[in-house]
């Protein structure tokens, strides 16, 4: 089981936790298991055509999977998969 770190914006969709243990030996398998357990996450990360949105960055440990084998990047039991959308926040209240 690898560890999946959930960004603040997705925590509501996984019951409020920051980290989950999820099975799977590739990024695709881990995501599929995550979607099966928490269908709401899928709705936020995947487009209607079934593609992972371009604004979603996924890292295995500290490496961006876009620069590796994308969804086929292997994930080991001790690895951490981090889902990271950009955050806008900084100065003030909403615009």
């Amino acid at each position: 089981m690898s560890t999946v770190r959930v960004p603040p914006v997705l925590r509501a969709a996984v019951g409020g936790v920051r980290e989950l243990s999820v099975p799977g030996s590739t990024v695709a398998e881990v995501l599929a298991a995550l979607y099966a357990a928490h269908p709401e996450v899928r709705a936020q990360l995947v487009s209607e055509s079934g593609e992972l949105h371009r604004f979603v960055n996924i890292y295995v440990n500290d490496e961006d999977v876009r620069l590796h084998e994308w969804l086929e990047t292997p994930v080991g039991d001790t690895d951490t998969l981090l889902i990271l959308p950009a955050m806008a926040g900084g100065a003030t209240a909403s615009r």
């Binding site: 960004p7 603040p8 914006v9 997705l10 920051r18 936020q44 487009s47 209607e48 055509s49 949105h53 371009r54 604004f55 979603v56 960055n57 890292y59 500290d62 490496e63 961006d64 876009r66 620069l67 981090l82 990271l84 959308p85 950009a86 955050m87 806008a88 926040g89 900084g90 100065a91 003030t92 209240a93 909403s94 615009r95």
Partner: protein, 394 residues
């Protein structure tokens, strides 16, 4: 037997050879040029000294000479009139510095003869005291502090991130701070925007920050830009600044800054925050990855709530804003390793810092070789118009 001052000088002359101004002028710059050590006080040194001279006040000469010269090295000691240097030379000879000489007539005669002098750009006595904890650090020193005083940093936003970063950059003596913010101070800002005060609610944030900065450090010039940065004014605002600190609260401004940083080749220090989580990085135009290499597109609004919608821990702003200030100072000083090529993710709840590797994307729409860099309608683009319409649930 008691000795007079004249007796001491006579004894010193017998041991320490005196070199004349004209001879030293010839030897400086020649082969085997002597090391010129100026033994006067700091204030005398500051008014001018011989080119290439090093400064070791007479009171510290014996304890510090080993750091600047070896015993077999030719050394010429210089003071104002040639007497203190003679007496100092005696002590160095006793320490085994056999090639020590003294400049006859000292700096005064050197200057009168019309030889080149160097008047150093130095800290004032007040600045020396104010920045002493900086100048004690070898990596900063007086030279580094002078760099900071000559530097110009543009801060986008005088809010959650801009408050701590502007405050610390001002305390550090960064000579010019530009504050770009068109908003006014609201009571709900004060939980984290520490540069503002309760009695300044309703005031322009940039003006309020200027008051705080000027009260903290009169060395700092604050340029108030009470406007929202946009495609029409971005390059003009950035022009003349050495570093941009991005403390914006929205994606259109962040992508605009990413493009403007590349166009103006100005380093961009990034941070963003939400609830208990912060991101930080440094984007060095065409040297390291840019913002678009990391985040080619912004998420749709429902996956990118603002702090006004989702909340933010006040202290988190201080942590991330100060990381930005830290990186800006390093960029100015040219020291250390910046966050270029790394995205730092801080989780305040778990109290963990995670470093992610980020690399230049060869197909980057911002800094890639085929990128067609121009300002666009960032509001429309970030809202997903013409981009990922299917993902936008407005």
């Amino acid at each position: 037997m008691a000795q007079t001052y004249q007796d001491l000088l006579t004894a010193a002359r017998a041991e320490v050879p005196e070199v004349q101004v004209a001879e030293l002028a010839e030897r400086i710059g020649g082969v085997g040029a002597p090391l010129v050590v100026d033994v006067r006080e700091q204030s005398e040194w500051d008014e001018g000294h011989l080119p290439g001279a090093v400064h070791v006040p007479r009171g510290f000469l014996e304890s510090r000479i080993a750091g600047v010269a070896t015993p077999d090295q030719p050394v010429v000691l210089v003071c104002a009139g040639g007497f203190r240097s003679l007496l100092a030379g005696r002590n160095l000879r006793e320490m085994g510095y056999d090639h020590v000489e003294s400049l006859a007539g000292g700096y005064t005669r050197w200057k009168q003869a019309g030889h080149e002098v160097v008047v150093p750009h130095t800290l004032t006595p007040e600045q020396r005291s104010r920045y002493s904890r900086h100048t004690l650090i070898p990596e900063v020193g007086e030279e580094g502090q002078l760099k900071l005083l000559g530097a110009k940093v543009l801060l986008i936003g005088a809010g959650g991130l801009g408050s701590p970063s502007a405050y610390y950059l001002a305390a550090a003596g960064v000579g010019t701070l530009g504050l770009v913010d068109d908003d006014v101070v609201d009571a709900s800002n004060l939980q984290r925007q520490i540069i503002h005060t309760t009695d300044r609610v309703g005031m322009l944030k940039a003006e309020s920050a200027k008051i705080a900065i000027e009260a903290l450090n009169p060395d700092v010039t604050v340029n108030v830009h009470a406007t929202r940065i946009n495609r029409d004014n971005a390059l003009e605002l950035i022009s003349g600044y050495d570093v941009i600190v991005d403390g914006a609260d929205n994606f259109p401004t962040r992508y605009l800054l990413a493009d403007a940083s590349l166009m103006s080749r100005t380093p961009l220090v990034h941070a963003s925050i939400l609830r208990f989580e912060g991101h930080a990085s440094v984007f060095l135009p065409y040297e390291g990855p840019c913002y678009r290499c990391v985040f080619p597109e912004p998420p749709p609004p429902d996956l990118a709530p603002s702090c006004g919608e989702a909340g933010v821990l006040g202290v988190l702003c201080g942590v991330m804003g100060n990381i930005q200030a830290n990186e800006a100072l390093k960029l100015i000083l040219g020291i250390g390793e910046t966050l270029s090529g790394r995205l730092l993710v801080y989780d305040a709840l778990g109290m963990s810092f995670t470093e992610l590797k980020v690399r230049r994307d060869p197909n980057c729409p911002g800094c890639g070789p085929d990128a067609h860099l121009e300002f666009r309608d960032y509001d429309a683009w970030c809202a997903g118009i013409g981009r990922h319409l299917e993902a936008v649930r407005v």
